[in-house]
Symmetry: C2
């Protein structure tokens, strides 16, 4: 049984908590979207679970940087010939008539331009292999300290000229509330299929933000607040918290050639600006979650998101070779 099960059982949404191990009830430490004000809470979970030199991709210094910054950009990890094959596969999937209209394929309203394809580790043998590439898989296993599975995978096609911004968010906040991911023990890996410059809407991250959990403002508990509070969108961190984190840590955007890798902790605050440049930004994206951190019921009030966004196949991933 996953360790996380020991502090979770069904209670009213928003009041979900668990045992402290000695029989006392504790609130969900990562509660969110329940209060009319944001709360900042210290992270309770380790960032790096691995010990020693067992990571094939990162040396000790890089592991230390990941631990303190919450992310790491690695330029030119993969050979251009492999990257070319992935780009070709990404193009093939984008045009695949068998995929068109499926829920996994997210298109722009109106134009029908494909923005994302989810579940690529299942849909495509090529990206299944990339997800299980020893460099990536063993790095995820090292950081998360044991068996992992793919919680989410997707291709992101940030198009030239019309690429949209993604506002700041912590993946963990979303996964916790909407998918039922119990603790911070997941890591995201982005493999760039095109050059990432500072100007084509690159992934921006706030160093150190992974150490604090920002609960998002949610529905208000009484009528007074309902009128006085300017309602924010669900799952959006408040500007003051993001500004303070950015003043402390800055805002970074790893850049690099196609075939670069950005690894970031599930709670690292990130987002991206729009892209009006003529240079698209395509990447393959994998979220590895520890098998010991398998999903339970969502911690929010909504139904769990569908399988193609948040997998419930917790079978440990095996290396591609």
């Amino acid at each position: 049984m996953p360790a996380s099960d020991s502090f979770h059982w069904p209670v009213p949404a928003g009041e979900r908590g668990g045992s402290d191990g000695r029989g006392a009830f504790v609130r969900d430490p990562y509660q969110s979207r329940q209060r009319p004000y944001p709360e900042r809470r210290a992270r309770l979970d380790p960032v790096v679970h691995g010990r020693g030199d067992r990571c094939p991709l990162l040396d000790r210094e890089q592991v230390g940087a990941f631990e303190s910054d919450g992310f790491l950009g690695l330029d030119g990890v993969f050979d251009p010939s492999r990257v070319a094959a992935w780009r070709e596969e990404a193009e093939r999937l984008r045009r695949d008539p068998d995929l068109a209209g499926r829920a996994e394929v997210i298109t722009e309203p109106g134009s029908g331009v494909v923005r994302s394809i989810f579940r690529i580790h299942d849909i495509s043998p090529v990206f299944s292999e990339l997800a299980r590439d020893p460099l990536l898989l063993e790095t995820a296993r090292f950081i998360l300290g044991g068996d992992v599975y793919i919680h989410q995978s997707r291709l992101n096609y940030k198009p030239a000229f019309k690429g949209r911004e993604f506002y700041w968010h912590s993946d963990f906040e979303t996964s916790h509330v909407e998918d039922g991911m119990p603790r911070m023990r997941a890591v995201s890996v982005s493999v760039t299929l095109s050059e990432n410059s500072h100007l084509n809407g690159p992934l921006m991250l706030i160093p150190g933000s992974h150490k604090t959990y920002i609960s998002c403002v949610g529905r208000t508990p009484d009528q007074h607040y309902k009128t006085s509070l300017k309602q924010q969108e669900y799952g959006v961190p408040d500007e003051t918290s993001v500004a303070e984190m950015a003043r402390a840590g800055g805002v970074m955007a790893p850049t690099g050639r196609a075939g670069s890798v950005v690894i970031f902790d599930c709670n690292t605050m990130h987002g991206s600006n729009s892209n009006i440049t003529p240079f698209p930004r395509t990447n393959a994206f994998f979220v590895y979650n520890a098998c010991g951190n398998a999903l339970v019921e969502p911690y929010g009030e909504r139904d769990a998101r569908p399988e193609f966004i948040a997998s419930r196949n917790f079978t440990p991933l095996l290396s591609a070779n």
Copy 2:
């Protein structure tokens, strides 16, 4: 009489042309928004009119770079204490109750957040002085070869978190069609009042783009085209032209401290991405036009834009000291 008057008289919109000086009729060389397809035409006008070493801000090498790239970024031109005073004035104007509601003040629909204030060289003594600062004014006079006036001035408040993108455009295309600016003999100067990084939606420019005039696709002349052509917004260059220019010249974004200056030719293709960072991007912006290039009737079919956007006070600007 401005020299430009010699090749302009009233003819049907879109067919506006002028004399070639020997009595022959020539079409408007910078016609735009009249055809269902874009046209690329070589620039007919010099980029730098000045000769010799008379420019107080730019050395020969920088003048050469401006001439070939169509822009120049100069970091830390102005003293921090002066910049602080301008920032203070920008804040004062933003909150000035006497300005609120005036046409010069552009607010965001809904929130009422101020995005731009136009005609600051008239409204504010502080920015009137900056517009006439010898460094800027003499540089404009050097580049444009003689007397200049302020065609447009404004403060741009690109806010943190919600800063919107500005799509690619040539200022000249707009000024020609909508304001009646006859030829390419104007220069834009942006003075940064906050730090410009690569990530807070900086001004992006395409080096070399000023050498070609891209006519924008406009209303279609017949019914067949009306249905077959995917209508673009008025005054927006086509993606293919922008992409080819960017592939040839790249996309550049000068960065620098508050008090930096970006000078760019009126026909340089430029734009900016959105800004979700917590760092606002504020700048003061002045368009100097040669007095010999004073506005006539708009070359498009619309009425001329109002005075606060396109001044018709062609009095030569005098230095602040």
